[in-house]
Subunit: 504 residues, 2 copies
């Protein structure tokens, strides 16, 4: 980057370009902050993962009213150390194994820093040509990296919840029942619209269903098989039953990488049903989609995904991208456009421009849009295809390693297959002469205690789910800093905490 | 901020904490980037406001495929200079007067930088206690700054479009017709639900209506008066008419600071109607709400707003906060919660925690939430109440000044009142012996040409609207760097371009 030196030529009488902070002060505090962040990262291993505070602890330490007069930047930054850091759960800690473990990365942070400095609002092409065009470029690159065909257009949203909501809104438009124009209330002619997902689908699907006005009744949760995958037979049966009752199937949501177990719905069989019945197929690959950048994993996660109408993945989950950045690929961008386009006069660009550009705000609820493509562009370039694939491959290897330890250990059991980088397991020490119900209750309580004790120690952080009514521990590997050392240490910690609890 | 020096104690065998970038490299590139941003700001005055490129120019310069191998950070940063900067429309330029002019600020940029480094996802309190609690603190501070009573709870979303959609979803829940459970389709018992707004309301209201499944038919646009404010008489009449037909009024959206003219709907009279009819009142003060931090402007923008059920304002518009950060205040957080709460097992926190904390993700579509409160906390502290008020007061003074110049100039006319910092005007050179229709067409064409010529010059950027069918220029002042020098220069530029066009 070339240093510019045009400041000296600025006309007289102009305000300093950053409010009342001089450029020199901006540099000074900026350097200080960068150094501080470097130290923060360097010291992460020794910090607790889960914040060691009680609810309300931070609020208590802050004034109840805003300051009347401005405060020095130095005082504010000092309070980050004193007040904010102790209240952080450190997502970037290499022993963060909860939820889906994620991480930012240096190029991602730099991308966000520039995004905040440029602070463009991509309402229209002309308002932010760089953001609009770079979004097209990175979406094309990412599409190639995961192996979706060119028939897919794409758009960047904030979260998978919002991506999936848009997919379902497009599906609603696709049934062609004048819902954009006439809505869903006060209509005797509008049959019940159905959305189908596996019972293992993420709660965001149900939230999208609620938001769009379908209602909980509209969501039919299809039973999963013993490996937590949607049963296509049950799906076909449900659709036939619904059609017999005069209901209209609107969309089927297949999940590639469920949140509880990372199970992968049988997309090929589901796509067959969608084709036969002409139903919109949305694939929620928020977590697992990133794994498709690994050549040998691509067939596992992408089988038949090219037949989906829409497909979502979150680079902020497993592509080392700072939160938020969720991608929706869609084979029917025209339908998405029909569902959301509105161009008021105050946003009308010149005709010639409108005919040649894509205004992404016409494809979604949000009018203003951050320059999110910038950080993803940095990341795709900095790591390259190879670099991204190597990291995800290693995460999957670590999960297999951990799963093998669980399988070989007498006091532990694995509760789901491990197709990617998530291991579901629990401690299961047996007791003689115990009824099945007593054992079940005891093991649930034990594993919950174990998890809370381990998390409370600050040494590592993992979360849970329920599988076949069993309290299940989840070890998710996705942090760029997590190495075999951390996974091994986690396994030791589990043993230590189990021994301590068993000794009581 | 204290420098930490714990890195030396880190256990052996750990990966570098930023992927493969060493802390030293992170510091080096970070400093370089901070310096570059300082230079960028210092040179803004001499850059074009509107990007001087044609559609496709950036895409053309970028590879069609992602790199196989990682690239050096230096090469990526060099491309920011070479490729990204020329494709930027510079929102932070002091002569950016288009749409609603906005700006970031140094503390806001620092807040975003830390947000990207911490990269927490505020799914639950425990996942991000600092984000959860700081959100409560800054919302309390901001509520006091604008003078809303304590009866309002609040939540931070990304954009006003999303805030208003949530307000309308709460209103839908509030009509108590089992829409969460039974939805809106396939119901013969569900009457048409109506949403009312002024014809001057922002398009995001209509987009919210579309998204939620109400349909365009549900939105009744109430005529505005000569000063572009909703007519309460017409509203009362529309409601009576609708009720007679068996429709159910669901929500009324009043706008405080419309996008076209910054007109302010008569909230007191509208609130009377809402109280009488028991209809949810949402106030969209996305732009103008910030002006309530100025004591003498507070009565202008906040009159009767304490009677609203929900109220939105965007600190990213006029409080020098990097995009995105929109606030929704709501008197009925319980209703918002009922509309959106869903807690799957994998997100269930310990009972004791659940009883004491607020999990903001239960109040909206997004599960993951950025640590947006951090930048707003920085800004409220750095500027203080006084500093924010002084800047907004000055923007309003500049708008009055510009309006006075327009009023005094024979070739120009003002087309709307100027309650805040937006001036609507046009050039109106007269011609003898011209029919009214010819004059109207000529002036529309002239002002459109004038706007495009001025914008294309790069010297300044303004946008337009249509008022009473007239092509209307909008001068919006809201950038922290804009001074009287820039407004005066804008006025000269308008004259120069008008003279040039008139000479043809």
């Amino acid at each position: 980057m070339a240093r510019m030196s045009r400041a000296d030529n600025a006309p007289q009488g102009f305000a300093p370009p950053l409010g009342d902070m001089s450029i020199e002060e901006f540099r000074r505090y900026g350097h200080q902050l960068v150094d501080w962040i470097g130290d923060y990262f360097a010291s992460l291993d020794e910090r607790p993962v889960l914040a060691q505070i009680e609810p309300g602890d931070l609020i208590k330490q802050l004034p109840t009213a805003p300051p009347e007069h401005g405060e020095p930047m130095a005082a504010i930054l000092a309070d980050v150390d004193r007040l904010i850091v102790p209240a952080l759960t450190n997502w970037h800690h290499p022993s963060f194994f909860a939820y889906f473990a994620t991480s930012t990365s240096a190029p991602g942070i730099f991308g966000e820093l520039l995004c905040a400095a440029f602070d463009v609002k991509a309402l229209l092409w002309r308002a932010a040509p760089a953001a609009t065009e770079l979004e097209e470029v990175v979406l094309r690159w990412l599409r190639q990296l995961i192996g979706l065909p060119e028939t897919f257009g794409g758009i960047i949203y904030d979260t998978a919840s919002v991506s999936s909501m848009h997919a379902l809104a497009a599906a609603r438009e696709h049934v062609n029942l004048r819902i954009r124009e006439d809505g869903m209330s006060g209509r005797v002619d509008l049959p019940l619209l159905r959305i189908y997902s596996s019972e293992q689908a993420h709660s965001s699907i149900e939230k999208g269903v609620l938001t769009l006005g379908f209602g909980q009744r509209a969501l039919r949760k299809i039973p999963a098989d013993a490996e937590f995958r949607m049963q296509p037979g049950a799906l076909a049966h449900a659709i036939a039953e619904d059609k017999q009752q005069g209901f209209v199937p609107c969309a089927i949501v297949a999940t590639v990488g469920t949140t509880s177990t990372s199970s992968i719905d049988p997309v090929p069989a589901i796509a067959d049903i969608c084709t036969r019945e002409n139903i919109w197929l949305h694939v929620d690959a928020a977590y697992a989609g990133s794994a498709a950048v690994v050549p040998e994993l691509r067939p596992v996660v992408m089988a038949a995904c090219e037949r989906a109408d829409s497909f979502t993945l979150n680079p902020h989950k497993w592509l080392f991208t700072p939160f938020d950045l969720s991608v929706l690929y869609c084979r029917r961008m025209d339908v998405l456009h029909r569902a959301f386009s509105l161009v008021p006069e105050y946003l009308r660009a010149p005709q010639a421009e409108r005919e040649t550009v894509t205004n992404h705000s016409e494809y979604g609820i949000q009018l203003g849009r951050r320059f999110r493509a910038l950080k993803l562009w940095f990341i795709l370039r900095y790591f390259g295809h190879e670099g991204l694939a190597a990291r995800i491959r290693e995460h999957c290897r670590l999960a297999q390693l951990f799963a093998a330890w669980v399988d070989a250990a007498p006091l532990w059991e694995r509760l789901a297959p491990v197709p990617l980088s998530l291991v579901c397991f629990r401690a299961c020490p047996q007791r003689a002469n115990e009824s099945e119900a007593d054992a079940a209750a005891r093991l649930d309580a034990l594993n919950e205690q174990l998890m809370h004790a381990l998390n409370a120690s600050g040494a590592a952080f993992l979360s849970h789910t329920k599988l076949n009514d069993k309290f299940t521990l989840r070890l998710s590997i996705g942090n760029i800093n997590t190495t075999e050392v951390h996974v091994r240490r986690m396994w030791e910690l589990l043993h230590e905490h189990l021994a301590r609890l068993s000794a009581r």
